[in-house]
Symmetry: D2
Subunit: 148 residues, 4 copies
């Protein structure tokens, strides 16, 4: 199961070589995680972070930038869950254009108390929503366009 959306490469993403300046990919993928919380998990990212004061900092990432992306291209950003720990969420992220993989990324987030920064167990409803998202892949009749 994965979650994905289109992303337009904008002028503000690009560097003097006319290609995406790589830190901007992390900003885009951060937006994808927000959209996953909003639309894929139905949790409301801002509600989790602002009202419930749950932080989701990144603690580790591994990234390959295989091909550059250029201004005006419409790429696809894709997210799949790799592992769900007690307080960590490991994601496999990709930026593609058609069959061409541009960027491949593994990113580990942890749930924290936003104000102290201390790790906390993933809240029950967040865990349940992620498990439901995962289970969808095993449902034989599923016809979600985004299935692998």
């Amino acid at each position: 199961m994965h979650f994905e959306r289109e992303q337009l490469i904008r002028f503000s993403h690009c560097d003097p070589a006319g290609i995406v300046f790589f830190p901007q990919y992390f900003v885009m993928f951060n937006g994808l995680v927000e959209d996953w919380f909003d639309d894929g998990l139905g949790l409301g990212y801002a509600n989790v972070v602002v009202q419930r004061r749950v932080g989701l900092p990144t603690v580790a990432l591994k990234c390959d930038f295989q091909l550059p992306s250029r201004m005006g291209e419409r790429v696809r950003l894709r997210l799949a869950l790799q592992r769900l720990g007690r307080s960590s969420i490991t994601l496999a992220l990709e930026c593609r254009r058609g069959d061409e993989v541009r960027v491949r990324l593994q990113q580990v987030l942890v749930t924290t108390a936003l104000d102290s920064g201390r790790p906390i167990a993933i809240p029950d409803d967040v865990r349940a929503a992620i498990e439901r998202f995962e289970l969808a892949v095993d449902a034989p009749a599923a016809s979600v366009g985004e299935r692998r």
Copy 2:
């Protein structure tokens, strides 16, 4: 041998949790690589990129964010060479405050023709400058404060 400098954590680096938003670290480390070219290697980063049209895109990175950094802190950014390939430069990068490691990063850059994006061999003078920088570590009498 390593190259390092101080970095003030600014308001613009920080997120709603009051800590550095992680893509900003990559912007800071990009600045450190520029300063290494300018001050550590004596090459002039802007001259290499703008006049000579040599690109230095990042093709891979691995990163651990061990502890957060907060607005107003003065951290140290540190760069050491790990490997010099035909067209790739592998760097070990760190952000520390005192003995505390905040971020540890391995980043692989490649030299490219800026306009086509194609990899090129590391230009001779760039390679020579990096080798000189490395050799400094073997000089027995060296007393550079920045030696490991």
Copy 3:
């Protein structure tokens, strides 16, 4: 006549006070101008900038930040033409949430040769497309949702 779209306020737009860091508004409005070129004028922003090498730098702006915007809010960004000069385009831009005006901005862009940075007359097809966009407002039967 105006052009508008919704904008989600994301984590990456916000500062340690939990509100949009003001330079991020200019990045958002830059995206709105791109979308206006793509969808309002039918010109293809990236085509104009990248293939035709026409730059659109900002030469002046006046801005009032009336109320803050917070993470998770869906605001509306709105663009209207104020003046079309020989090589300048003056835009009135707004960020609103419902009836509440958050930001009001006047921004002057000029068309330039991207590589030299020198001002050039607005290309004929760009001028024609902007004039068509403007004339739409006088059509009595127009029922565009975005009319004032």
Copy 4:
């Protein structure tokens, strides 16, 4: 009396035309205001914002971008006080290279309670520090390099 410092134009500031992307100027000037609080006023910007929870949002600005700045240039950023209100601080800001003015900006900040966003009177010690900074200009024997 003004406060100023050098700023290197970095790769990360520049757009596909190889010049500073204008929102980056506001990030740079924000850094200048921080340095003014730290070094010009002796107040500690992070202390004011983080410990004392005083916000300094921008409520208005007027800006002329007269000439572009390019990667690798060392420009000077300069700040002068224009007006001190009950809760507002109006600054005249400039980016120059030698005698060449690149950007001229008037920016109005207000002091707020960081958590509520409501305007508050400028705290007494902040007002006193700004007044001392201003008075320096009238001292006949002053020989600060940065005097007008």
